[in-house]
Symmetry: C2
Subunit: 540 residues, 2 copies
C-alpha cells in the first residue's frame, strides 16, 4: 500500500518533475522580482519530534491501534497551508497520540467506547486531504489525548445495483479504488474533486464535496441515497430511497457534519453509466464579466452543461490555456444516452451572443476533445496544482484559495471587492505585489461559485504564517461582509471557524449543538470543528 | 377574501358541477354494484358544536386574535380523509381555542410568547390543505389550550431579483397569488402541487412539497435559496446562497420540519422564466411494468423530461385518457431557451424501444399540446379530483392515497405487494371489491414515486372511519415492510406517525428532538406532529 505524504499533497511517490519546479520558480521569481528562492528542505518523519503518547492502547485494541511514529505524524496535520508551514517548520502543536485502524463498525464502536472511557478526542480520518484543518487533533480542551480514526480498511464497493444505478460503498474508499471497482459494471460515480486521488467517499460526504460537473447533480449531497454512521450513542442507518418527504432529511443532517456527529461507514451512492458522447469547447472572452454573463445565461438556459468553468485571463494563462489577454470558458456536455451536438450548438450561440469567440472545429469534436486541446491541458494542470503548495511553502511563497458562492445580482461588486481585499492584504503584509486569480468551479441558475487563488512572497520563513493569515483573514472578512459563504466546497474545519461563526444563524448552531449532544454527549467527536465541542448552550 | 371550506377541499365557492357528481355516482355505483347512495348533508358551521375557548385573548393581542366560530371550526380540521369523516359526523375532538392572524414576525413572536406564558399549543396554519392531520390541535397532552397561527396576512412577493432569477416571498402566499405577483416580471416558481390553489409557500416548505415537474429540481427543497423563521427562541435567517458547503445545510433542517421547529415567515425562492417551447406526448403501453421500464430508461437518460407521469390502465381510464386496456405515459419537455424537439424525439425512441405506442402527430405539436389532447384532459381532471373526497365521504365511500418512493430494483414486487395489501384490506373491511390504482408522480434515476389511490364502499357511515383505517394501515404496513417511505410528498403530520416512527432512524429522531428542545424548550410548536412534543429523550 502506497503511503500518504505527511508533508504535502498526495502519496510519497508523487514527485513533481524538476522541469515543473523550474517552471514554477521562474514564473514566480519573475512575478515577485526575485532571482532565486531560499529552499527549506523537505522534512523527514524523524525531523518531527512528538511527545510520548498520552494514551496507552488497551489490550483489546492492540490489533487495530498503533503509536507508530510515521502514522502519528501523518495524522497530526491536514493539508491546509498553515499545516504545511508547520510541518516545514518541524512543529507539531497538536499531535495525535494513537492512530486507530478499525476494520468494521463494531471496531469503530469499540474505539469510540475507549475514547469515552478515557475522555480522548476522536478524529475521523479518510484521506487526510482537508485543506482547512478538519482532521487535526484539538490543541486545547480537557482531553486526555487524541485518537485519529483512520478509515483506510473500509475500502470496498460492497454491492452494485445495476437496475437503479446505485452502489453501496464503504466510506474509506479512495477515489481511484472506487472507480476501479465500479468499472466492470460500466458504472461510475463521476465525482472527481481535485483531491480525487487522495480523498475518500466518507470525506466527500462529511465535507459536502463539490464534484466534477459544473451544473446539476454534482455535489456529493445529491448523490447520497442513504447513509450509515457509527456514533457514540449507536448506529444510524437511513433507508435507501430515491426521494422522500418524511420529515427533514436524516441524511442532510449528517452530510457536511465534518465528523462531529458520527463516523460515516458506508453509503448507497447514485452512480451512472460511463459517458459515450461528449463535446467540449473553449470560448474566449475579452472581458471576464462578459464571460460571467454568458455563464449566467448558460445556467439559466436549462441546458445543464457538464463542464462550465470560466477562468480569468491570468488564471487561463497560468494554466496554459491562453496568452493572458482573454478569459477562457471551458464548456462541455456528455451523455451515455445521446449525442450532445444540439446542446453544444445552443450553448455556443449563447456564448457568441455575449461576445465569446471559439475555434469553429472545436464543438463538433465529440470524442477525444475532452482530453486534448485547451480543455485537456486544463485537466492535466488542474490535477497537478495542489502538489506545488509544499514546494512553495519551502520557498516562502504562500499559495492558497478562498472559494465561495454568491448570487448573480451581487457577483460583480462582490468579486471586485474580495479580489481587491486579497491583493491589498498581500501588498500590506509582504511589501510586494501578489496575485489573486479567479475561476468558477460550479455554477447555478442563481449564482456562481468563484474560486480565488492567491500567491504572495514573504520576506522570510519566520513571517510566512503571519503573512498567510493576514491575507486569508482579509479575504474571508470581505467574503462575509459581501454576503458570500465562507466555503463552497472546502468545508469549515478549524480554519474557517471564525467566519463560519459569523455566517451561520446563531440559533441553527444551537440546534446543531443540541443534536450533537444527543449523539455525542461528551463532545469528543472532532471537537472544535464546525462548533465548539458541545456547541452553543445559552438558553433562549 | 374568499373563505376556505372547513368541510372539504378548496374554497366555499368551489362547487363540483352536478354532472360531475352524477358521473361519480354512476361510476362508483357500477363499480360497487349498488344502485344509489345514502347522502349525508354537507355540514354548516353551526352544526359543529365547540366548547367555549379555554384561553382568553390578552388585551395586547385582541387585534390579531379571534374566537370566531367559523375560524375556530376551520382551524380544527385538516383535509385528511379521517378529518373529513369527522366533520361530516359533526364531531370536533380537538378544537382550536383561538385563531391568531399575525401580520409581522414581531406579532408571531408575541403570539408565541403568549403561548409560552399560557402553555398553549401553537399550530402553524398556511392553507390548511394538509391531508395527514398536520394542522390540527393535539387531542391529548397537558396544554392549557391550542392557538392556530394562520399566516394569511403574509401574502406578498416582497422582492424580485431578475438577474439571479429569485424572489423573496412571504410564507402565507397562496399558489395563485404567488404566480400572479411574479407574472409581470416574466418569472414563475412553476411549483404546482395538486393543492396549488389552496396551499401556501410556507406549507410547501414545511412539508417538502413535490412540484409540477416529474424530474430534476421539482421538490420545494431544491427551490429554497434561504429561509426566515420565527421560533420561540428567536428569529433564524440563513444567507441567500446559490450553494454552500459550510456545515450541514441550515435550510435542510427546517425544510420538512412541519412546524415543530419554528414558523417559516419568508424565503428567497429560485424562480425561472416562463416556458415558451413545449412538447407533450402520451404513450400507450400494454403492460404497466413495460411502461415503468421505459420510465426508468428515461430517468437514466439525462434528458430530464419536465413531465413523465405513468398511469396504470385503470387510472388512465378513470382520468379519461384511455379505455382501460392500456397504461398511459404523459411525457413532456419545456424550455424558455430552446426548442425541445430533439429531446422529445429521443424520449419517444426510448418509449418505442420498450413497446410504447403513440400518435405520430403528437410529438411535433410544440405549442398548445400541453393544454389539449390526453395531456390536457389529464391536467383538468387532476386539479378537480380532490374535490370529490368530501362528496364520497358523504356517500360512505372512502377515497385516499398512499404515496411512496422505492428504488427501481425493488419496484415491481413492491408495487404488487402494496397494491395487493390495499385490495385485500378493502375486501376484508367492507366485504366488497374496491379499487387501488397507481401512477407515478415523480421519477428519479434510482426509482419512482408511486402514488396509489384507493376507493372502497363502507356498509354504513358508522363503519367508515374504521374501514378507512383498516385499509390505510394495511397499505402503510406494506410500504414500511417493503422498504419504501411512508410519504413521498404528503408529509407525516399526525396520521403517518406510527409508520414514520418505524421508518426514521431512532437516533435521528433523538437528534431532531434535541434540536427542537433548543428552539422550543416547552415543546409547544405543533406538538405530536413528526415526533413526540419534546422528542425521544432516552440517554445513550
Amino acid at each position: 500500500m502506497k503511503r500518504l505524504k505527511f508533508w504535502g499533497w498526495g502519496f510519497e511517490d508523487d514527485v513533481v518533475p524538476q522541469s515543473e519546479i523550474e517552471w514554477m520558480e521562474s514564473t514566480w521569481g519573475q512575478r515577485f522580482g526575485v532571482s532565486g528562492f531560499e529552499v527549506t528542505p523537505t522534512p523527514r518523519a524523524e525531523d518531527i519530534r512528538l511527545p510520548a503518547p498520552r494514551l496507552a492502547i488497551p489490550a483489546a485494541l492492540t490489533e487495530i491501534c498503533t503509536t507508530d511514529h510515521y502514522e502519528r505524524v501523518l495524522h497530526s496535520y491536514s493539508k491546509s497551508f498553515p499545516d504545511i508551514i508547520r510541518v516545514y517548520r518541524r512543529e507539531c502543536p497538536a499531535p495525535a497520540d494513537v492512530v486507530a485502524l478499525p476494520r468494521s463498525d463494531n471496531e469503530i464502536a469499540a474505539v469510540l467506547d475507549w475514547c469515552y472511557e478515557m475522555n480522548a478526542a476522536a478524529i475521523p480520518f479518510g484521506g487526510g486531504s482537508s485543506v482547512v484543518g478538519g482532521v487535526v487533533p484539538p490543541s486545547g480542551g480537557e482531553y486526555r489525548g487524541a485518537v485519529s480514526i483512520d478509515m483506510r480498511h473500509f475500502n470496498r464497493v460492497l454491492e452494485i445495483d445495476p437496475v437503479s444505478h446505485c452502489a453501496r460503498i464503504q466510506a474509506g474508499t479512495f477515489g481511484p479504488a472506487l472507480e476501479a471497482q465500479l468499472k466492470p459494471s460500466g458504472l461510475t460515480l463521476r465525482h472527481f474533486p481535485q483531491s480525487f486521488r487522495c480523498s475518500t467517499l466518507g470525506g466527500w460526504i462529511a465535507t459536502r464535496a463539490g464534484g466534477h460537473f459544473a451544473t446539476l447533480y454534482t455535489h456529493i449531497d445529491d448523490l447520497v441515497e442513504n447513509l450509515r454512521l457509527v456514533t457514540p450513542a449507536g448506529v444510524i442507518e437511513s433507508r435507501r430511497l430515491p426521494g422522500s418527504g418524511a420529515g427533514p432529511s436524516p441524511d442532510r443532517m449528517f452530510i457536511g457534519s465534518e465528523g462531529i456527529l458520527g463516523i460515516i461507514t458506508e453509503a448507497w451512492m447514485r452512480v451512472r453509466p460511463r459517458p459515450s458522447f461528449r463535446a467540449t469547447a473553449s470560448v474566449r472572452f475579452r472581458d471576464f464579466y462578459r464571460g460571467a454573463d454568458a455563464v449566467r445565461m448558460l445556467t439559466q438556459s436549462n441546458l445543464y452543461p457538464t463542464n462550465c468553468r470560466l477562468l480569468d485571463a491570468e488564471e487561463a494563462q497560468y494554466n496554459g490555456l491562453a496568452d493572458g489577454t482573454v478569459s477562457v470558458l471551458v464548456v462541455g456536455f456528455e451523455s451515455a444516452d445521446h449525442p450532445v451536438g444540439e446542446w453544444m450548438k445552443r450553448a455556443l450561440e449563447i456564448c457568441a451572443d455575449h461576445g465569446g469567440s471559439y475555434d469553429p472545429q472545436d464543438p463538433s469534436a465529440e470524442d477525444e476533445s475532452h482530453r486534448s486541446g485547451a480543455a485537456g491541458r486544463w485537466r492535466e494542470r488542474f490535477m497537478f496544482l495542489p502538489f506545488f503548495k509544499e514546494h512553495m511553502a519551502a520557498r516562502n511563497i504562500f499559495r492558497d484559495s478562498y472559494e465561495t458562492a454568491i448570487t448573480w445580482d451581487r457577483f460583480k461588486d462582490f468579486h471586485a471587492d474580495i479580489r481587491a481585499a486579497g491583493l491589498e492584504a498581500i501588498r500590506k503584509a509582504t511589501g510586494r505585489e501578489g496575485s489573486v486569480t479567479c475561476r468558477f468551479t460550479h455554477v447555478y441558475p442563481d449564482g456562481p461559485a468563484p474560486y480565488l487563488t492567491f500567491h504572495g512572497l514573504s520576506r522570510s520563513a519566520a513571517r510566512l504564517l503571519d503573512d498567510y493569515w493576514a491575507v486569508k483573514s482579509a479575504a474571508s472578512d470581505a467574503i462575509i461582509a459581501g454576503g458570500g459563504t465562507i466555503t463552497h466546497h472546502h468545508a469549515v474545519g478549524r480554519e474557517h471557524r471564525p467566519w463560519y461563526d459569523r455566517q451561520r444563524p446563531e440559533l441553527f448552531a444551537r440546534a446543531l449543538g443540541a443534536a450533537k449532544r444527543a449523539l455525542d454527549p461528551k463532545g469528543l467527536l472532532n471537537p472544535g470543528v464546525l462548533i465548539d465541542p458541545i456547541g452553543p448552550t445559552a438558553s433562549p
